[in-house]
């Protein structure tokens, strides 16, 4: 049981990290559909750097940098050149899938070092809870910290409120003297960094081998989760755990020998995503939490 809960937590970390990043990006009014692609970049950069340097922490760093770099391409196109955000985001994922396949080619068949578990003294000795919560690797702690950091930041810091303001009404933000484009660049880069780290987590903690498209749709689930969580960081954690649980269900089923086709179980996380989105869109029609400027171009002073 303990192990099951730990596995669920670990499985949900990539979607949680990527989802948190996308949440910040979307709060500033940018819809980046390239999460899947950014995660792949993070994954391949992390794996490659670990194979070269041998240190998994370097892997996190490279994963984050790769995420930022690829998100910069997106920012340049959508914020500066004002291309369509949806098309650019989709393009980014298609591009990144192929690019990482190419870069990852030499890594096939090699095993990277995993992130070490850090046990927090005293806390990790608490029965049950200690094992689940306080003897994990650094990115788990970081992801949990990030939830509260973003929640607090949006409520109580000026930069957080400015990001929300830019996503809510960019013309007003401009008229009181903020650079809408700069805020969006920064938020998108933050989203890229988180997605890169979420992607990095897959080879660094879950499956230490490279395989093409190894994120397997986690980026899309993260995107759906942001909507599911109605742009609230704490709800995002709940959502990520539910999706983590559903993903793990297929392994449990296999281990217990349930008589369910494996294809059906493989399908579950994506089916749950569609269901969650459908359910939420009913609610959203009357109770719209989405940033008002989400996906809209800021043209500047006409």
């Amino acid at each position: 049981m303990e192990n099951l809960l730990i596995t669920i937590l670990l499985t949900s970390i990539p979607i949680l990290l990527a989802g948190l990043g996308e949440l910040v990006t979307e709060k500033s009014g940018v819809l980046n559909l390239g999460v899947e692609g950014m995660m792949l970049c993070g994954a391949v950069a992390a794996l490659g750097s670990v194979l070269i340097f041998g240190n998994p922490y370097i892997g996190i760093l490279f994963g984050a940098i790769a995420g930022i770099l690829i998100s910069t391409v997106f920012s340049f196109f959508t914020i500066t050149l004002m291309t369509n955000q949806v098309a650019t985001g989709l393009g980014l994922t298609i591009f990144a899938t192929a690019l990482t396949g190419l870069i990852g080619e030499p890594f096939v068949g090699k095993t990277a070092a995993s992130l070490p578990k850090l046990e927090i003294i005293f806390l990790s000795d608490i029965p049950y809870l200690g094992k689940i919560l306080f003897s994990n690797d650094i990115l788990v702690y970081f992801a949990i910290f990030l939830i509260f950091f973003i929640h607090f930041g949006f409520q109580n810091t000026k930069i957080g409120i400015i990001i929300r303001a830019v996503g809510d009404n960019h013309d007003s933000a401009h008229s009181i003297g903020y650079s809408v484009k700069l805020v969006r660049w920064i938020s998108t880069s933050f989203g890229g960094m988180c997605a890169g780290m979420g992607g990095a987590y897959i080879p660094l903690a879950l499956t230490p081998h490279w395989s093409e498209g190894m994120t397997a749709g986690k980026g899309w689930i993260a995107l759906a989760l942001v909507v599911f969580a109605s742009w609230m960081p704490i709800r995002l954690l709940i959502g990520a755990l539910i999706f983590g649980g559903i993903t793990i269900l297929q392994f449990v089923a296999q281990a217990r020998g349930w008589d369910v086709p494996s294809q059906f179980l493989n399908m579950l996380p994506y089916l749950a995503t569609i269901l969650a989105l459908a359910l939420i869109s009913f609610k959203l029609r009357h109770n719209n939490y989405a940033p008002a400027c989400l996906g809209k171009h800021f043209l500047g002073n006409k």
Partner: protein, 509 residues
């Protein structure tokens, strides 16, 4: 040159010009504002008022000219710099963030470092001090328009402004709210803060300002004390010609005429979070009557218009036209009976902005263009008929086009509105339902539109006029009712209802 500096002047603008591409928006404007003075800036749309204040607030950079504050030359490169000189601005279209709370809205426009909790206390204190009640932890989207304006004013007050710029502040307020606002402005002026008050409402300027500067086509036409100029001559200076007087039809000539349309217990659920639910709306209009529906924006006007036009449907007997129950019929059917609708939104609702006037006319009348039911006529665009109609609409209504058959969004607001109203008249309506016909339209065009409406009523047609502009409602309607939070008051004869009564019906004390 600062040697002739007058210590009572706060800001002085000298020969300020601003060009956009080829267009000269401000042509060598000079204006000076004394400390503690309420200075009105009057002009039609496009006269250059907004450009001038945007230069003062650092949103736009002037092409030429100087700005002096307390006798010193300054360049204002950003709103932040403007605020550092003590200039605050309340925008016409509020620059607020609906999803943020009042205190968050204010926090991000303050340049000093302050915690949210501390700021909330400060807001409450300032609100009390100036008589502008507000709840700092409420989200802006839950506030009324008047409250939103208070937020904007408090935001400026917290920065201890020396000059407060107000852009058309009363266009969204009820009469009572206007009085409250004026009290605050006078108090502010007495405390030494200058106010630059932008408006095109002449009576208000007379009432609140001590000095008025009139702009036309980017130039200063006149700058005098308000006690020395009448509203008529202000209007003439503003539009550059004599204003046509509108003659109202003899009051009760329609009393014996048959009812045209009656609305019975009309209900509509709200369509979005920001919408208004319509509750048991009932009224009727006779042929020859103009019924004015007053109300502060956002109280159900849009929903009512949609219900009347058939964009939202309900039970058949909610709307009865002559003796037909049409509450569940679509727009096309209602128009075929002789109802015409002019919605509030000119660009995108009443017209398609990106296509030409001829094409817009075609979209309106294509039904009548293919009466012989010839298959080819039905599918082929008969451009002759629509362009003939367009030309006659343009000529009959004095629509001024920048070139022949322009795109709809190439017309100025006033000219586009004249075109839209003209197009509805072309359909020979029995009942015209028109919403905010002169919103954002200059005085000249507005008076032409109003006289067209009066002529239509004189010809025995019924008109339902939904408007936020009380002056307009008083000017042309026979009966007035007020829409407030989705409910409609009983119609009263225009001469028997005062602006104060209307304010009370608007639900604001």
């Amino acid at each position: 040159m600062t040697n002739n500096f007058d210590a009572t002047t706060f800001i002085e603008v000298k020969n300020l010009s601003k060009t956009f591409d080829q267009f000269l928006a401000n042509d060598s404007i000079s204006i000076d504002i004394k400390k503690g003075e309420i200075h009105a800036l009057l002009g039609e749309n496009g006269a250059g008022k907004s450009t001038l204040v945007k230069c003062l607030y650092g949103v736009v950079k002037p092409t030429d000219g100087q700005i002096l504050i307390n006798g010193k030359h300054v360049t204002i490169n950003s709103p932040r710099e403007a605020r550092s000189y003590g200039i605050g601005m309340v925008f016409q279209h509020f620059s607020l963030f609906p999803a943020l709370t009042v205190s968050e809205n204010i926090l991000i426009s303050l340049d000093e470092k302050i915690t949210k909790k501390h700021l909330e206390d400060k807001i409450s204190i300032t609100a009390k001090q100036w008589g502008l009640p507000i709840e700092p932890t409420k989200k802006v989207l839950d506030l009324s328009v008047g409250e939103q304006q208070r937020v904007e004013i408090i935001r400026c007050l917290l920065q201890n402004p020396k000059l407060l710029i107000m852009d058309e502040p009363t266009s969204v307020l009820s009469p009572q709210e206007i009085n409250q606002l004026f009290k605050v402005l006078r108090k502010l002026a007495n405390s030494g803060c200058s106010i630059l008050y932008i408006s095109h409402k002449l009576n208000e300027i007379k009432q609140i300002a001590s000095k008025v500067t009139i702009l036309r086509s980017g130039k200063v036409i006149s700058s005098t004390s308000t006690s020395k100029i009448s509203t008529t001559s202000m209007a003439e200076k503003m539009i550059g010609k004599k204003v046509k007087k509108i003659t109202k039809i003899s009051k009760n000539s329609f009393l014996n005429s048959p009812p045209a349309i009656s609305i019975n217990n009309l209900n509509r659920k709200k369509l979005s979070q920001f919408g208004t639910e319509l509750k048991k709306i009932s009224f009727n209009v006779k042929y020859g009557e103009i019924l004015g529906i007053a109300g502060v924006a956002g109280n159900g006007q849009v929903e009512l218009m949609n219900a009347l036009s058939g964009e939202t449907l309900g039970d058949p007997d909610e709307i009865i036209f002559e003796d037909k129950k049409i509450g569940n019929t679509n727009i096309k059917f209602r128009r075929s009976l002789g109802l015409e609708f002019v919605p509030e939104e000119r660009n995108g609702h009443a017209t398609v902005p990106e296509i030409t006037l001829t094409e817009n006319t075609f979209l309106t009348f294509y039904n009548t263009y293919s009466k012989n039911n010839n298959f080819l006529d039905d599918i082929l665009l008969s451009s002759n008929m629509s362009s003939n109609d367009t030309i006659s609409i343009i000529n009959d209504n004095d629509v001024r086009c920048p070139y022949s058959n322009p795109l709809a969004d190439q017309l100025s607001g006033g000219n586009l509105q004249k075109f839209i109203v003209g197009r509805s008249l072309k359909a020979n309506p029995k009942v015209l339902i028109i919403s905010q016909p002169t919103w954002g339209v200059d005085i000249g065009a507005a008076s032409e539109i109003r006289s067209k409406l009066l002529l239509l009523a004189k010809a025995g047609k019924a008109i339902i006029l939904i408007s936020q502009d009380l002056d307009e409602i008083y000017e042309i309607s026979n009966n007035i009712c007020v829409i407030n939070n989705g409910s409609l008051s009983k119609p009263k004869i225009t001469s028997k209802i005062s602006a104060k009564d209307i304010g009370i019906l608007m639900g604001i004390n």
